[in-house]
Symmetry: C2
Subunit: 163 residues, 2 copies
DNA sequence: TTGAAAGTGTAGCCTAGGCTACATTCCGTG
DNA sequence: CACGGAATGTAGCCTAGGCTACACTTTCAA
């Protein structure tokens, strides 16, 4: 392929499929773009998911979730934590009154539960495959936000059929 | 501080990790913070890794990597792509001259190779577990940036022992 | 050869998510 | 009961990563 310098050459290689009038995008190209887009939006909500899960943990553990504790656990400054909590409130996931700690709305609790289940599942899968506990826990933190429901279901099946 | 009404009971009860009270500052808390921090930095470089891999692909396919093609594949505007390419150049991963396409430096090529191998491995693992091809490809895009070397090695072993 | 289309680059704006510095509130003790 | 330290909140700044709008090259085709 490779016409030469900056030349457009007919079809960008691997194609085989005709291009629709959609600006000339090949299906494979669009699929790839879609994947990247999905990855981006998953990243967007990753931090919020982590906060919600953590708040739920703190509430369960000690009955309260304070900005400073959250900040310490997440490893950011308290100012950052407070700002993120504000976003959580804006999105209807949490509530709080000045100097009174943070609580989850029903929506927030539901999200926390989903996140917790997913986290567990990812960690268990990594363990089942043979990843050492510490690495499993660490990697799961980043991985979990990018596992689709379909894949999650497969994970469950895999874990069941496995002794 | 802290031992006020808003106290955080001695040990964070429910945590999955057994953590031996190694003195001072609740190691589990610090470990968690460290994990979150690692996740954050992985995210930071994720976009750049994707670009490098994509540029390598385009160069291999057609001998050139143009901002517009990159933008289309990633699913962002060309302006965004150009800005990211600038960051790539700043970081010593790529080179380019106005209107002449983008190329990788040796460092960029090395990174691309590493990323490609890792991507392959993640996709293969997902497939081996039973994830449908489409979901595997889509999820891998987000997951791969969060898989540690240790975990990657385990993936390799798992794939080898598996027919 | 020239002009329009396509690609490239620049400027300016936005949000998320970090930070530090400073101001304010709370609350256990002295 | 007042005070000081910790927690909380606010303001302002920064980078990454998006976008649109506009300006400028390059290339191709008439």
């Amino acid at each position: 392929m490779a016409k030469t310098t900056l030349k457009r050459a007919g079809a960008p290689a691997g194609a085989g499929a005709p291009m629709s009038a959609t600006g000339g995008k090949l299906p494979a190209e669009r699929a790839q773009a879609r994947r990247f887009g999905k990855t981006r939006s998953a990243q967007s909500s990753a931090v919020l998911e982590d906060y919600v899960e953590l708040i739920a943990d703190l509430l369960a553990e000690s009955g309260e979730a304070r900005p400073t504790d959250i900040a310490r656990r997440v490893g950011v400054s308290h100012a950052t934590a407070i700002k993120t909590i504000a976003r959580l409130k804006r999105d209807g996931m949490a509530t709080s009154k000045p100097y009174r700690g943070v609580f989850l709305t029903p929506a927030g609790e539901a999200l926390a539960e989903r996140v917790r289940v997913r986290h567990r599942l990812v960690v268990d899968l990594l363990l089942a495959i043979g990843v050492p506990a510490e690495a499993a826990e660490a990697d799961a933190e980043g991985i979990e936000h990018h596992v689709s429901d379909a894949t999650l279901k497969v994970f469950t099946q895999f874990l069941q059929q496995k002794p």
